[in-house]
Amino acid sequence: MKKSVRVSYFAILREQRGLGTEQVATEASTAAELYEELKTRHGFTLPGTRIRVAVNDDFQPWSAEVREGDSLAFLPPVAGG
């Protein structure tokens, strides 16, 4: 069954997607599966190995389960300072 999650994109991913936040219906069971699904759909250039994921505003491993109502954020390599 499809789950509805909120997905946020930052920096290069936000530009490649053309928006910052969207509601996504997905059958992905893990954050990694969801990123691969969205990467294929939107042509993201960064492989999952270079991205980090946050679920509900905390860093999580790629194996994190995707649950109805979650907020996921995909975070490209950082460059503050």
Partner: protein
């Protein structure tokens, strides 16, 4: 102790006043400024973007770690988002301590960890009109993901 993301100009004088503490024999500050070149390319301006809730949370974690490692009294770190011009302050850090050694070391720890861990991104606008998200290249010399020094 505070780690803050802001879209307004950073005002070091005002921030320093909040760090008054007569126990402190040392106050070390660091200013990260927008530089006119990067990797041999002329930079015109920068955009910073942050995932604010997580950036502030991860930033506070770094300040806590710095305080565990070094005998400091207080730490304040402010990082900009938005569009910045050459010479603008991008990040400002102040550390107070009884003695200078701890203040210098904690300040260094905070900036190094912040650059490596806090979800903030930098887009450079170059003199030739091109742009680049730093550390996000998927081909060429930056493609390994290694952060520049």
């Amino acid at each position: 102790m505070e780690f803050r993301i802001t879209d307004r100009d950073i005002d070091p004088a005002a921030l320093l006043r909040s760090l008054g503490d007569t126990r402190a024999g040392a106050c070390v500050t660091f200013e990260g400024r927008v530089r006119q070149q990067n990797d041999g390319r002329g930079v015109k301006s920068l955009d910073y973007e942050a995932f604010v809730p997580l950036a502030e949370k991860e930033g506070m974690k770094i300040l806590d770690e710095a305080r565990e490692k070094h005998a400091v009294l207080d730490i304040l770190c402010v990082h900009r988002t938005g569009s910045l011009a050459l010479g603008d302050l991008a990040v400002w850090i102040a550390v107070t301590a009884e003695h200078r050694g701890a203040a210098f070391e904690a300040c260094r720890y905070v900036i190094d960890e912040a650059k490596a861990r806090v979800p903030i991104w930098k887009k450079e606008h170059y003199a030739d009109g091109s742009t680049e998200w730093i550390n996000c290249a998927t081909r060429g010399p930056g493609a390994s993901g290694a952060a520049p020094a």
